[in-house]
Assembly symmetry: C2
Homo-oligomer: 327 residues x 2
Amino acid sequence: VADRVVVAVDAMGGDHAPAEIVAGALQARDDGVDVLLVGDEGAIGPLLPRKASIPVRHAAEVVADGEAPAAAVRARPQASVVVAVEAVRDGAAAAVVSCGATGALMVAAVTRLGLVTGVERPAVATLLPRSDGGRVVLLDAGANVDCRPEQLLSFARLGSAYAVALGVAVPRVGLLSNGEEDGKGNQQTRAALPLLRGASGLHVVGNIEPMAAMAGGCDVLVCDGFVGNVLLKAAEGAVATVVGLLGEEVSRSPTGSLGKWLLSPAFGRFRRKIAWDAHGGALLLGVAGTVVVGHGKARAAAVRAAIGVAHRAAQHGTVAAVRAALG
Amino acid sequence: VADRVVVAVDAMGGDHAPAEIVAGALQARDDGVDVLLVGDEGAIGPLLPRKASIPVRHAAEVVADGEAPAAAVRARPQASVVVAVEAVRDGAAAAVVSCGATGALMVAAVTRLGLVTGVERPAVATLLPRSDGGRVVLLDAGANVDCRPEQLLSFARLGSAYAVALGVAVPRVGLLSNGEEDGKGNQQTRAALPLLRGASGLHVVGNIEPMAAMAGGCDVLVCDGFVGNVLLKAAEGAVATVVGLLGEEVSRSPTGSLGKWLLSPAFGRFRRKIAWDAHGGALLLGVAGTVVVGHGKARAAAVRAAIGVAHRAAQHGTVAAVRAALG
């Protein structure tokens, strides 16, 4: 575990920036995390309580949603996301969080921090809750929509290193597929499976279906970014549907209000457990620095969670683990 | 609505065949569906109550799981799945259900019933519950793992025709993607979107994310079979995880048992609503007959539901609707 780590937060990125970002940063500060806010001082200042001990690094510009990432980062070197990433490069922070456009964060991270040797493209890694109480590292969760089989192998290495940093001794790596047999899958995964099986240092369980993975069948779930993004959002959608239906049913029940009241502590814990929001941040694996992609729609609680993810990843030396696994 | 329709059921296909298949068929019979059981008379007979009025058509052979579909169907013309499909061809039944290997059912259906004119490959269409109470036709849910953009257009037409048969006047077609903007998606979907938009007779809403689709954003959700299968199983996995966690939380709550008892009618309705199992069957769209792919792990309740799907599809003339839409 490293010394006190500072997390730089892009205060201007996200649908609810800067108000909810700053609110989340204040919550994280109360959790004991040192935060460095980056963005327009004039906009951030009024959001801070008078005696807030959160430092602010001014950044005059902002990358808007929908801008071409590479062009935007090139055109606006004073954008908050760029300045926040540079705080990591300069050593002012050990990690950075942005809820702004993923593409811009990725470009800023790759150009300012560089890639870990051996990595061709970074991948977005998300932690998915499992029914056995564990978590599965899902990657790529959206950075690379079209992948060659070799890229899936690279994701397997990155994800495995992340799982080790999270405390899994020998991470079981599964290749996301539509069936378990070796012959299942599409062209991409059928070509990738032998590459994974042939790689040293990986414990590959083979093809795995989403349900088996979520039940605890693997610690690292590998897929391309299109499929990973669909998986993640389908799971979120299903949970939202189920929770909505349950609420409806409970409120329709004649004995429902009393029952609901009696169960409210259970529902509260349940809500916190399934709050995918609370898991918040996805790690950008493969860049030479701790970079967390927050949710664009993040409100304070999700921002706080994303800052927590960044803090833990920096403390546990995830980048060093990735470097060691690939070196 | 057509006359009384008979549903042929492959009694020997599925992990729990023939016992659970026959049990599900008896339940469907009690729902008022005419069922024709197809399989080994010696195995089925003892499972039927003495006075059961369910006819049995003998089939001496069985296609085992994991067999190469085309070879298996060629080698064993007396396999239960083949004989069940032939009951539709011969007019003895209006629809067929099998919980056995999807590939074998597909080969049997294509070779015995043929394809609707204009269809190149059949697609598996599943109904996914939406949080607004509706259903979205998801296809392809697993038959075609690698698809050209033209195939996605064909799925859009098939799914739209199915939605019309289900009573949706102007089905809104969405292309499953990792973002809503036209530029989002992978190579396959970016090439498919303009084809969909340019097709006459389709009401295309554009790219759609899983959460938006499940919230009611479209009536038909188009994707390749690999992605569709992952989506479906991710949603199932997430629901299972959430329901498991909820049960745990409720049983841990000190006031939980009483609350649970008071809420039990609500939980019961909820369970039935989210029982993806109960939605049971997926329709094989594009073949010239009503063919339902049941779940391999189906027990009686899911078999009954799959028979119900087949019955309704036959009654509502889904095949005729597909033919009309493509003609």
